[in-house]
């Protein structure tokens, strides 16, 4: 076994942390307060090469391996980038662009990947519906073939980047009677007739990512926008799980490091009863809990990444274990961080309040903790 990163990977991480601290983090609190997406930061992520990091260079990507790609997520969290922006990046790169990259035709790749890699276009994925969350097979959005077009009808819900996306990978049933096997995936471009997005939902956390409903009313999709073949949609959606359990979890690992530094800094400066609160054992214990979570989560996340780099099929049990651990256990450190900051921690000025809210999504998004428990118990 070997848990080391290469020198290049570590240098890249440090470079990204420096970049994010300088170019992104200063605007995080303002955007979170306003509930606004930070287009400038997103664009800068594209310029730095993060949005297409693992795509081939000829498609505008960076040709990075999976571990480096996951490390980028950790670096963003460690720099103090908010959960909203990292979620927007995850939905854009891994749920939308990567699906097109994996399953698209050469023409589709050439058309979409370079612009998604650069951040010129923003992507999203439409899978969840108002009445179909983890139970994907119960989706009701349909795609009916009409000549050389598909007619999409239905609604998608809780779609990250929904209101701002230029490109959406949308799942719909082409043969509803086949359940999972009847689901197909389509690329839907902004401005397509019959396609609209609802207003941004007001959320507890990750407020800089815009989330909305997507509405399809007799939306005409040219047949060349079908991804792969009809009926392959469910498998495509499931393949995003590899990224979901690695790259999308990585910011939580980085965020733990960020919290630890923030809390330690505060605890050293905040004096009560004549001494810095960091000198009290109870505070040290809280700092320890934050560190322990981060270290425990790190190995789980990179195990998924390393296996993907080895070309192994996803081990669904290990993936669910990673998601369950990060999802459920990531909340307590954020609570500890708020407690260390006391009254200040309850105020927006100190960003532990935002991180506390952002982390509430961890056991919900990408498959709830209960779904992970179902998966684990079925596979054991």
């Amino acid at each position: 076994m070997d848990f080391d990163f290469t020198k290049e990977q570590l240098m890249f991480k440090q470079e990204l942390i420096r970049f994010a601290k300088k170019e992104i983090v200063p605007r995080v609190q303002e955007h979170d307060l306003k509930g606004e997406f930070d287009f400038e930061s997103f664009k800068k992520l594209g310029e730095f090469g993060i949005l297409g990091l693992h795509f081939p260079e000829e498609l505008g990507g960076g040709g990075a391996d999976v571990i480096t790609t996951v490390l980028a997520g950790e670096a963003l969290g460690e720099a103090g980038v908010d959960g909203g922006l990292t979620l927007a990046y995850g939905a854009h790169t891994f749920l939308c662009a990567d699906t097109i990259f994996r399953h698209g035709t050469e023409a589709q790749k050439q058309k979409f990947i370079p612009k998604l890699s650069s951040g010129e276009w923003i992507g999203c994925m439409g899978l969840t519906e108002p009445d179909a969350g983890s139970d994907v097979a119960s989706m009701t959005t349909t795609a009916e073939k009409k000549g050389d077009k598909y007619l999409l009808n239905g609604n998608k819900m809780f779609i990250t980047n929904g209101p701002i996306a230029d490109v959406a990978v949308v799942y719909a049933k082409t043969q509803p009677e086949l359940q999972h096997a009847g689901i197909s995936a389509f690329v839907v471009e902004k401005g397509t007739k019959g396609f609209s997005a609802g207003p941004p939902l007001i959320k507890m956390g990750v407020r800089t990512s815009h989330t909305s409903e997507l509405i399809f009313q007799n939306c005409e999709i040219p047949e060349e926008n079908l991804l792969g073949k009809e009926g392959e949609g469910f498998l495509m959606a499931m393949q995003t799980v590899e990224w979901d359990r690695s790259a999308l979890l990585a910011p939580f690992v980085g965020s733990a490091t960020y919290l630890l530094k923030k809390c330690a800094q505060y605890a050293k400066g905040r004096v009560q009863f004549g001494r810095p609160i960091g000198q009290f054992q109870a505070t040290k214990h809280k700092l320890a809990e934050i560190r322990i979570f981060g270290e425990a989560a790190r190995s789980l996340v990179y195990r998924i990444a390393w296996c993907k780099d080895q070309g192994r099929p996803l081990n669904h049990l290990e993936a669910a274990v990673a998601k369950l651990y990060v999802g459920d256990w990531s909340m307590a450190p954020t609570f500890d961080a708020v407690l260390i900051h006391g009254g200040y921690g309850y105020c927006h000025e100190y960003d532990v309040e935002r991180i506390f809210r952002d982390s509430r999504l961890a056991p919900i998004g990408g498959g709830t903790s209960d779904i992970q428990k179902m998966i684990i118990s079925k596979l054991m």
Binding site: D2, K268, G278, E289, R291, Y302, K373, M374, S377, M380
Partner: protein, 376 residues
């Protein structure tokens, strides 16, 4: 990065598992009777010496894998019997490592070789009445008396204490930390009564009184310039406890899983009920997370990473507390069956508490982790 054990390493795991499986098939490994328990430990040592288990972490050789493998192998032995495991580990991974790391060639020949062959049993006496060598000065002291060293003091909670062939006693000599090595039967070395403990039914634990014991200077390791040697001992002890915790979780989880799949209620196996299935999922999550944590901390120690100590403290806290949680959850799944003495989960639950107290206690470990965060 590499998250796999090699084929060679997996072969070693199988060898160790087969040895333990064979022993477990022949006798009860948590024998409370001291005479029988002593025989069992010595038999296990001899059998395990046929593999490279006893050399892991001690012998530096291309053929002997590193600390990650040591951790994986520890998990296997501990999953069969926590008492046997701790007895073996105190002999090899603590006593053996002391001699291997700090001893001279003559001392190695005298004490290490027989321990690694499984022919002799070692013990280490660290704790005193306060149980804490971090905050309090040790009272066990060695004084020169012509060509001999006279040692006086008292030690608590010495594993293998009454039956060990060799005992390394931590103390102070010339105001510096030192280790005094005694052979069984040394005059003035008086083992206390066998302590009855919450867990570890088949383990010998006793106090040890040193009543003006005299040893040759060649039987002293040290004195050391500072207490870092004792800190190292604590780290080794922590590694042992971490490995033991993995074994407890493995045994508890497997026991509960098998029960959940075979025990029926309401016409279906209880794993079909979400309250049971989800509990198992949480247990497995803690177990797998603990495994990776333990391996990573061991890897860091092997790589002499500057983060090694802190990662070991983190892993120690996580794994020992997870062991209690996992074995506790197993008991709830096993219900009445788990409450009966001798069940793997019941045994692990009782043993798990020790892990949080022994070595660097989880409370002290948290303070140290916090100090590191504060740069203190």
């Amino acid at each position: 990065m590499n998250f796999d054990f090699t084929q060679h390493e997996q072969k070693l795991f199988k060898e160790i598992n087969d040895i333990m499986l064979e022993m477990a098939g022949e006798k009860y490994l948590e024998e409370k009777d001291p005479v029988n328990a002593g025989k069992t430990v010595r038999e296990a040592l001899i059998r395990l010496a046929n593999s490279s288990y006893l050399k892991l972490g001690i012998v530096k050789d291309e053929e002997i894998p590193g600390l990650c493998v040591m951790m994986g192998a520890m998990e296997i032995v501990s999953s069969f019997s926590q008492s046997l495991y701790l007895s073996i580990e105190m002999s090899t991974r603590l006593f053996g490592r002391i001699i291997s790391t700090f001893g001279n060639e003559e001392q190695k020949k005298k004490w290490l070789s027989p321990v690694l062959c499984g022919k002799k049993l070692g013990a280490v006496a660290l704790s005193e009445k306060t149980m804490n060598i971090d905050n309090d000065q040790m009272e066990t002291t060695g004084v020169r008396e012509s060509a001999l060293i006279k040692i006086s003091g008292a030690k608590n909670y010495v594993i293998n204490g009454p039956v060990a062939d060799f005992t390394a006693v931590a103390g102070i000599m010339e105001n510096k930390p030192a280790l005094f090595i005694f052979e069984k039967g040394s005059i003035g070395l008086i083992p206390g009564e066998h302590l009855v403990t919450m867990g570890y039914d088949g383990l010998f634990i006793s106090g040890l009184t040193l009543d003006e014991c005299r040893i040759n200077e060649s039987d002293v390791i040290g004195p050391f310039e500072d207490k870092s040697a004792f800190d190292t001992l604590r780290m080794w002890e922590n590694q042992i406890i971490i490995g033991g915790s993995l074994g407890m979780m493995k045994a508890s989880f497997e026991s509960a899983k098998i029960f959940a799949k075979t025990h029926k209620t309401g016409g279906k196996p209880i794993i079909a009920y979400q309250e049971v299935a989800f509990k198992l999922a949480e247990m497995l999550t803690l177990f797998q997370t603990s495994q990776l944590f333990a391996y990573r901390a061991a890897w860091a120690a092997d790589a002499k990473s500057r983060e090694s100590d802190i990662l070991t403290y983190c892993a120690k806290v996580f794994c020992t507390e997870a062991a209690e949680t996992v074995s506790g959850s197993a008991l709830r799944i096993l219900s009445g069956e788990g409450y009966i003495s001798g069940n793997a989960a019941e045994r692990a639950y009782r043993c798990a508490k020790y892990g949080q107290i022994a070595g660097t206690s989880t409370e002290i470990a948290r303070v140290k982790i916090g100090n590191a965060a504060l740069g203190a």
